[in-house]
Homo-oligomer: 431 residues x 2
Amino acid sequence: MMDLAPLDGLLLDHRTKGIPGGTPPFPLGAIGVKQWNVLREDMTLPVAVLKDLALAHNGAWMRRFLDASGAAIAPHGKTTMSPQLFARQLADGAWAMTLATIQQVQVARDFGVDRIVLANQLVGRQAIRYVVSELKRDPGFEFYCLVDAAANVAALAAAAREAGLDRPLQVLLEGGYPGGRTGCRDLEAALDVARAVKQAAPVLALRGVEGFEGLFHGATTAETAGQVARFLDFLVEIAITASQQDLFAPGRLLLSAGGSAFYDMVAKRFAAAGIDREVMVLTRSGCYLTHDSVLYREAFADLVARSPELAQLGPGLQPALEVWAYVQSWPEPGKVLLTMGKRDVSYDELPVPLSWCRPGDARPRVIDDGHVVTGLNDQHCHMTVPAGSPLRVGDMVGFGVSHPCLTFDKWPVLYIVDDDYTVTGAVRTFF
Amino acid sequence: MMDLAPLDGLLLDHRTKGIPGGTPPFPLGAIGVKQWNVLREDMTLPVAVLKDLALAHNGAWMRRFLDASGAAIAPHGKTTMSPQLFARQLADGAWAMTLATIQQVQVARDFGVDRIVLANQLVGRQAIRYVVSELKRDPGFEFYCLVDAAANVAALAAAAREAGLDRPLQVLLEGGYPGGRTGCRDLEAALDVARAVKQAAPVLALRGVEGFEGLFHGATTAETAGQVARFLDFLVEIAITASQQDLFAPGRLLLSAGGSAFYDMVAKRFAAAGIDREVMVLTRSGCYLTHDSVLYREAFADLVARSPELAQLGPGLQPALEVWAYVQSWPEPGKVLLTMGKRDVSYDELPVPLSWCRPGDARPRVIDDGHVVTGLNDQHCHMTVPAGSPLRVGDMVGFGVSHPCLTFDKWPVLYIVDDDYTVTGAVRTFF
């Protein structure tokens, strides 16, 4: 059970982006009382907001997807690193949280997350020591990490033995592919690692097979999907063979893959794995909750095109994350600069303007397609504007982002807003 | 006078990257007592460290440069956003801090920075209100911001009048160039804005001329330098003409330009401006203090090639900032993955491995040139390794970064280390 009370009591002040200068420190949990409205210029810009209705919509959509597919989810917490959003995801039925680093695990543990998948090998003296000591300290803590090398298996086993751990450290065998990221490149390498885990019983237990398919980039959508499909086949092959060779620990088998772009394929392929034992299919999307306006917008369109039955789940994911900035300068025809930069939004792809607002307006106005972001510096956004653009210095523009993970990490606090952009809450992140 | 006592008392715990799991909260100012050593694996990786001797060396080098050139500096605080490093720069003789956003101004004010150059137009209701109220509240606060549009001049004047400010809001006229960032594109536009400021006396005062030359990118170093030189000529032309037309407020004139790549040219050109009144040449490098291993390493080599007299100042700037990560996986010949990604280092250019260390080593070892970073994901670094590379899973690699600004913002706390990588202090950042 997560404990968010310390965050409600966390004092915010004007050192945090968004909080107006001179505001006396106040508890985060009381921010809604202030009735700050972004469009009314009650906050400083740039400011990052999460639209509450879109978050709720996306959470409900994912629940319906999981109900329909039979898969479970351990959302990747690295996306938001916000315990308050973790709690929302767990309340929505998430089975566990996925995390990428030991610091992320430490944060999640502090706020009471009791089931964690570390989607990496556990390496380093302090990281191994911490996990083993947490497992020893708290019998309610359930932990899984990946293995792709016998040397790492040996290091984990030695640490578990040395600590006198009275239950196994649970691991998932990672499959990879040539040129990819981590994970065993072929079946033989994977089985070698699985055998090393089995030999390390009872201090280690092999609970399943894992892979990450999110980095394939074929020349076409179809080619990418083909690469993903072959990789999922490989993961299933590892699982079947290791099962036939009795390399898994007793109990339910975990088959896990799925970032935020291909979880439909993962759920279908793993559900049809044909392994003669109980299997849990575990997806790990981190980005479904906030979605975005560029990368995952496109990925979701591909997903629905590929799996048209998902249209039955109702309207699809909606972008919940926006960053608002002022027009700061209009120094030459056709170009404005805004108060937002690489310190404020992801820039693997550029952000897109969604709407604008003049001080005094109660609602955002439509911004036409001629407004295009052309570049970002650390603290500036360069935007082309069409002839006749209504914008002026001091107007506000709301942007959709290209990638939630690399936007969240630029905001210690993001603000929850209703559809009128009135702040109803705030979430703290830990990066 | 800056007050850093609140930072010494700030409690750190294992939610902060680098702090080992389970460490009871402790005050930042007491971190040296722990005698943590990075190479001895006392901390979690990735970890960002600042080499104390390199910081001191760079601070002293810049002092010698300023003494030799006659210029002053208002270091751009956006680079580090660390009040502790601001204090170091002010103690080294910096005339003011430069900042980019109102949140950055708020942070600097909280820790007692009393002279600030906001290197942007001041826009937005809360931003204008805060600055005017701070100027009213604290007679010791000295503030400058940029103007490039008469409409913004009018907004500032109205706010100052409405608040009953009893001293002028001081502004610098910003010159720009076609296709560039903010700033007036031609002399007539600049003089129009200057006249608007003069008409707004006594609530506004035009104190000087400013520009930013750091975004020129010619096909060759020489072409870029030529573009910078012409732009500096333009800024001088604005200053001379505005002075002839008596558009500046009485008193010393500020001429300010200079990011971290061309401050030699700025100091020389502005010193020879030939304006018939007292002039202060104000440079604004943010990156000299930590320097880096890619972008500014190259820029500094160009600077010394262009201004060979700087060799007399002694050995040049040294990279002070490193990020250390573990080898996490070696899944195929020639390739390793490390525990570091876009969440940990700048990625406008990729980081470069500088040295490595095996657990148990007391000192880093040389890493050969065949080790090359080929890509970064959010939490992973892809690195090519040569045949025969000594690295193993669990070894540590120290990286130099491409760009300090976009590395600092990924670390709430960076650790000051001595030459043996023992932690002697820590600095908090506010992004």
